[in-house]
């Protein structure tokens, strides 16, 4: 088959081949380049860099462009590959410790290191650190989530570059250029709408531009989704709190892109901004608590018929609950209670391995071992992580299963 880049998705088709085409984060990219160039003279103190930033800000693209400009070979390991201790110690280690055949300089790209799987990529981070310490090639890594616990140990031995969302002006330049290259006429108004929807994610903006251009007729506005989940959510909340009509509220909830778990959390976090009297607050939270009870029963018995009621409690309780306080414009905050912890609490944690081995070693039942032993052990390893391995070995379990829930 001929490689026909014409039908490639635009984000791929227009992937920048040279640093000149990269927009945003100019100083960081200059620094990156300088770091790479320094390898020509001697191996620098930090043999790896870590590029952190939201999707579509040019992290991987910069590395690709850099390699292209400097004629370097890229060896990539990403989340679609198995990246546990073994495969890193063999495959990545080989790539990082051996010279290339043709003598071309090489970049090791470890993409999406925050995406290492907790179960299937066990021991991956430790192995990466080991490889970095003795690599003869520059190692470049990318990640989205600066708070990911998997990155903590990497921070110490990497040069970290934080990539910011691309500003609208730069985005606009790129979109206009791409439209032109594809011989498409797109008004500045549409481009602005796309940019507005994408919150600094250039790749998403290019996707949206492609979808818009390819739809044939040219409507006045972009009807694609609001990409920025947060903005979409704030919009839902605003309209939900504005109305006092349960029917409208129900409709708003059913059209929301938020799943039920997130919805409850967002409402709980922000309800007090609109329900100012103690009475309203009591009633409003009571509705939330009923919704939450329904959700709990759904999870317990998988009786999904109850889901409709959960939405009702939210619709009627929230929309109808504001009886005294007039509507006012406020700014909402993101739930402080992370979704994963919330869901983790619901699905009973699978600590069976630990518990059965504790129960075997101590003669206490699994049911009781949590209180009698496990809590103590998780506390101890929480305070002195160095002891984790010893306890894990003693119990014959994975270290991660001794981590305390709720904290990371």
């Amino acid at each position: 088959m001929l490689v026909n880049s014409n039908n490639l998705p635009w984000p791929e088709k227009h992937r920048p081949r040279s640093l000149d085409l990269i927009v945003g984060n100019p100083e960081r990219i200059q620094n990156l380049k300088a770091w790479i160039l320094s390898w020509k003279t001697r191996i620098p103190e930090k043999r790896a860099v870590l590029l952190i930033g939201p999707p579509g800000t040019g992290k991987t693209a910069s590395i690709g462009a850099l390699a292209n400009d400097l004629d370097m070979e890229i060896v990539e390991f990403n989340s679609s590959d198995k990246r546990n201790k073994d495969s890193i110690e063999t495959l990545v280690w080989r790539a990082a410790s051996q010279q290339t055949l043709d003598g071309r300089p090489r970049i090791i790209l470890l993409d999406e290191v925050d995406g290492l799987s907790g179960t299937s990529d066990r021991g991956g981070i430790g192995a990466i650190i080991k490889v970095i310490k003795s690599s003869v090639h520059p190692i470049m890594m990318t990640a989205n989530d600066p708070d990911s616990p998997r990155l903590k140990d990497l921070f110490k031995i990497c040069q970290v570059y934080n990539f910011e969302p691309i500003d609208s002006e730069r985005m606009s330049e790129v979109l206009t250029r791409i439209a032109k290259l594809n011989k498409a006429e797109v008004s500045q108004d549409i481009i602005d709408q796309i940019i507005d929807n994408c919150a600094g994610d250039l790749r998403a903006a290019i996707s949206d531009l492609e979808a818009y251009v390819k739809r044939g007729t040219k409507p006045e506005s972009v009807d694609s989704a609001i990409r920025d989940m947060r903005r979409g959510t704030e919009d839902t909340l605003r309209r939900l709190f504005m109305t006092t009509d349960p029917k409208l509220a129900r409709k708003l909830l059913s059209e929301s892109e938020l799943d039920h778990d997130s919805l409850i959390l967002w409402l709980e976090e922000n309800i007090h901004l609109h329900f100012l009297t103690p009475d309203e607050l009591d009633k409003g939270l009571d509705s939330l608590s009923l919704a939450d009870l329904s959700l709990g029963r759904i999870m317990r018995n998988q009786n999904w018929k109850l889901l409709a009621y959960m939405y009702d409690f939210l619709a009627v309780g929230v929309a109808g609950g504001r009886t005294d306080t007039p509507y006012r414009k406020v700014s909402y905050s993101r739930p402080t209670w992370p979704l994963l912890v919330f869901q983790g609490n619901k699905s009973r944690e699978k600590r069976t391995d630990v518990l059965s081995s504790l129960s075997r070693l101590t003669g206490v039942s699994k049911r009781r071992a949590v209180r009698t032993h496990l809590d103590t052990i998780t506390e101890i390893v929480g305070i002195s992580p160095s002891k984790t391995k010893d306890y894990a070995d003693w119990l014959g379990v994975d270290k991660a299963s001794l981590k305390k829930r709720g904290k990371n």
């Binding site: 989340s79 989205n144 007729t217 409690f313």
Partner: protein
């Protein structure tokens, strides 16, 4: 007797046959024409032709080589990281067959993939974009991690409107040479709430009576109460004509054979049309939810529903 399932018999084989979702279909059609399909994310409530659209697009695009270039996976079966690293990757990286420009992989219920698996998917989408395009299907896009959303054109499917379904039902009725009264259409629309497949199934069941299809037949066939009966029962309850309302209840359960579970659902639907005060509505909802829960746990339908009617009768003053 007709032994074909009408939902299969009348499934649109091409994009042009799909009802509703006009602007989305238009875009997908353009994708087919230009033979350039981006990665897509189809999101929307159940039963809104998301999967059908994905399959129709692939058929339109591939024609004869459809079988070899198309794969559908359901993520709710295997939701871990391995399915991405093995099955999906293997399909994605091999070259398309025949003169197809690329393959298409449909991942149904993608929001059921674990977060690890979603992470593993994102680079696969880029690396093998040359040979394979993905269509991810989900109910809530918020369950899809942002890096994947960023790689997709997002299409939001909305509930089908009654006009579209109604038109389709009439078309099928005509093909099948059955008499479909407009009251029958309304009843089917009421009961199936924008779910095309359910609507067609119900039409077929109603047609088996051999009579002209009226609302009465539809409600009887589906084992449902007519909205009017429910409304009357609820109004009686609210206006403290207790005896009448309890009699309606018993008639529904024991003579018309409506199951208590279905009754709760219908009451839940109708209650919203009654003009209860806010606190009254909340209290009734609380009770309905409780009763639905209890019946699910095995409690007696008649006793529980009688309590609900009683509660409605007591009114908002004595709300719990």
């Amino acid at each position: 007797m007709d032994l074909d399932l009408w939902t299969e018999k009348y499934r649109p084989p091409t994009l042009s046959g799909i009802i509703g979702q006009e602007s989305i279909i238009e875009s997908l059609t353009r994708f087919v024409e230009t033979k350039a399909v981006p990665h897509c994310l189809f999101t929307g409530p159940p039963g809104t032709s998301k999967t059908t659209a994905a399959m129709a697009m692939a058929k339109d695009l591939f024609g004869d080589t459809y079988e070899r270039n198309f794969m559908e996976l359901n993520a709710s079966d295997e939701r871990g990281i391995d399915v991405v690293r093995n099955q999906i990757k293997n399909f994605a990286r091999t070259m398309p067959s025949g003169d197809a420009p690329f393959k298409i992989l449909v991942l149904d219920e993608a929001d059921h993939l674990t977060s690890d698996a979603q992470h593993a998917l994102r680079r696969t989408m880029e690396s093998y974009a040359q040979s394979c395009r993905m269509v991810l299907i989900c109910n809530y896009s918020s369950r899809i991690i942002p890096p994947i959303q960023s790689r997709c054109a997002i299409f939001r499917f909305s509930r089908l409107d009654e006009k579209g379904i109604s038109k389709r039902l009439k078309y099928i009725a005509k093909q099948e040479q059955i008499t479909l009264e407009s009251s029958g259409v309304d009843a089917i629309l009421y009961l199936t709430e924008g779910d095309m497949r359910a609507a067609i199934n119900l039409l077929q069941a109603a047609s088996s009576t051999g009579e002209a299809i009226t609302d009465k037949i539809v409600y009887a066939i589906s084992g449902s109460a007519s909205p009017e009966t429910i409304k009357t029962m609820l109004t009686d309850a609210r206006e403290q004509r207790h005896l009448e309302s309890l009699q309606s209840l018993r008639k529904l359960i024991y003579n018309e054979g409506v199951s208590p579970v279905d009754l709760v659902k219908q009451i839940h639907k109708e209650i919203q049309a009654l003009d209860f005060s806010h606190s009254q509505q909340m209290s009734v909802l609380e009770h309905i939810a409780e009763i639905e829960f209890r019946i699910g746990e095995g409690a007696n339908g008649e006793i529980q529903l009688a309590a609900l009617l009683a509660h409605i009768g007591i009114g908002s003053d004595a709300s719990e």
